[in-house]
Symmetry: C2
Subunit: 305 residues, 2 copies
């Protein structure tokens, strides 16, 4: 493999970081009255200076696969990826709240409600979620307003009751309760899967890919989403807190059923390997052009943190 995935991830993360920063500037936009400093500070704290930026990375690389230019002059995919990243960041802020997962640390730093306060954390999450739907509508995202609207609506469905937010609800309900394998798979497809699926789907839509390819990339996103979750479950069981940057063994401690808990480590590893074969097969028609996506898939499955 000629692509240095770490270098690629780092370069793309820089690109995304620059766009995220510019979107969180202190100047009010048209139809905004003012951007209160403390709220903006909390939104920046929640969004900047960290994270793997996996979701925007997928948006960018899928868009590139279908011919969208990723040069400095076309910020569209990075803007769309940033909208998605704002959704992801808001969900972390709210999930960390005392009434939810009650986490004090995130990426080794105090969580937003610890660094600020609970009310500010709730509002920062709300404002990041809302900002995503402002950002995804930006002209540079796609020349056709109908395409931007489709991206916006798909984003709402991936993030809402039928996607991420619904999955978090199921996750909270699964504490100290037995869940069937099907239930856990549904929960995870919603909680973590929906946004990753959207990332790949949105990349294809952004680049005017034929519907057949949009469907293929959607399927690719579902596979990456599940692989991401299985790798995460394995890290929670096998990783050290130092490597992972957050407490491990948390799922078991919270009495949360996971696939690895149900299937065991060897079977989970086997499923992960199968998912990687499926991913490669989905990318096969694109040949060498899909090298970066292929590398990202492998990275997701094999990551150590």
């Amino acid at each position: 493999m000629t692509i240095d995935i770490k270098q690629l991830l780092a370069a793309r993360a820089d690109q995304i970081e620059t766009v995220l920063k510019s979107l969180l500037s202190s100047d009010p936009l048209d139809h905004e009255t003012a951007r209160p400093a403390r709220l903006l500070e909390a939104m920046r704290y929640a969004s900047l200076g960290g994270g793997k930026r996996l979701r925007p990375l997928l948006v960018l690389e899928v868009a590139a696969l279908f011919g969208r230019d990723l040069s400095e002059t076309d910020k569209g995919p990075a803007i769309a990826g940033s909208a998605l990243e704002f959704i992801h960041c808001y969900s972390l802020v709210h999930d960390d709240l005392p009434a939810m997962d009650d986490d004090d640390l995130r990426r080794g730093q105090p969580t937003v409600h610890k660094a600020f306060d609970e009310a500010t954390a709730i509002l920062a999450g709300d404002a990041l979620l809302t900002l995503a739907f402002d950002v995804i509508a930006e002209d540079v995202v796609h020349a056709d307003a109908a395409v931007r609207l489709r991206l916006s609506r798909d984003l709402a469905r991936a993030s809402g009751i039928g996607g991420m937010a619904g999955g978090q609800m199921l996750d909270l309900e699964s504490e100290n309760r037995d869940r069937t394998e099907t239930e856990i798979r549904t929960l995870q497809a919603m909680k973590t899967g929906a946004l990753i699926r959207y990332a790949c789907r949105a990349g294809a839509i952004l680049a005017n890919a034929p519907e057949e390819d949009v469907a293929r990339m959607t399927r690719f996103g579902e596979i990456i989403g599940l692989a991401f979750q299985l790798a995460d479950d394995l890290l929670d069981v096998e990783g050290s807190a130092e490597d992972v940057g957050k407490a491990t063994g948390k799922d078991a401690a919270a009495g949360k059923a996971t696939l690895v808990g149900l299937l065991g480590v060897p079977q989970t590893r086997a499923e992960l390997a199968q998912l990687m074969r499926d991913a490669r097969e989905l990318l096969a028609p694109y040949g060498a052009r899909a090298e970066a996506l292929s590398a990202i898939a492998a990275y997701v499955a094999e990551r150590k943190s």
Copy 2:
């Protein structure tokens, strides 16, 4: 005045309620995996069976003023109004949380975090906020996707850091702190004003009103928003808890500076009267066709609950 405002309000509220209900059905939509029952129940609890529906009412009546049909066959304005109502309802759920205003009652009923629990209330708010951006994108809202996208983006800006969420942040920060009149006006224009402004603006956009009329209706919305807030402040000072359906005197108890606190009751009443004159002037060019909007303006200024 030939329009019975109470009858109009009630009829429109029924119309909105029907649409809200249908949007909160238990069937997953395209790209949704499932709608978890408890989360949906909390979203319905937060949105159905109560409220004056002032914001959707304004959307409907402004759209009607510019020729949009409000018959059963054109559900577009009611759908757009419902999206806005979901934003309003989510904001109430989050504002009521213990970390925010810590309210146990809303419209005489237990607040969502009391009827369910805090985690569910946070998620129900998140999911309602997200659903708004799904709903505003519905085809029936407007035939032109570019117009729907404009409505979606304007809604994001009215609701986010530069609008409602930012205003709530300023409101929290104003507890036990002196505020200048300008600061309070900015806070209120954001916290309660932005959505009411949007309601009137969106109604005009929905009906393809000329930009000059969109601007005029935006200004009308600003006036109604301020009148609504002044009337609310007066109710908090003068109303009885029984009439208002929530605790009164709360602003003073929380050490929150209000305009009525700063200006006094007589001057607040005088400003309210001036706002009504301004509103009538803005509606004058439309003659009798603006009768309903004129009645709503009067209702907002004179309401007792």
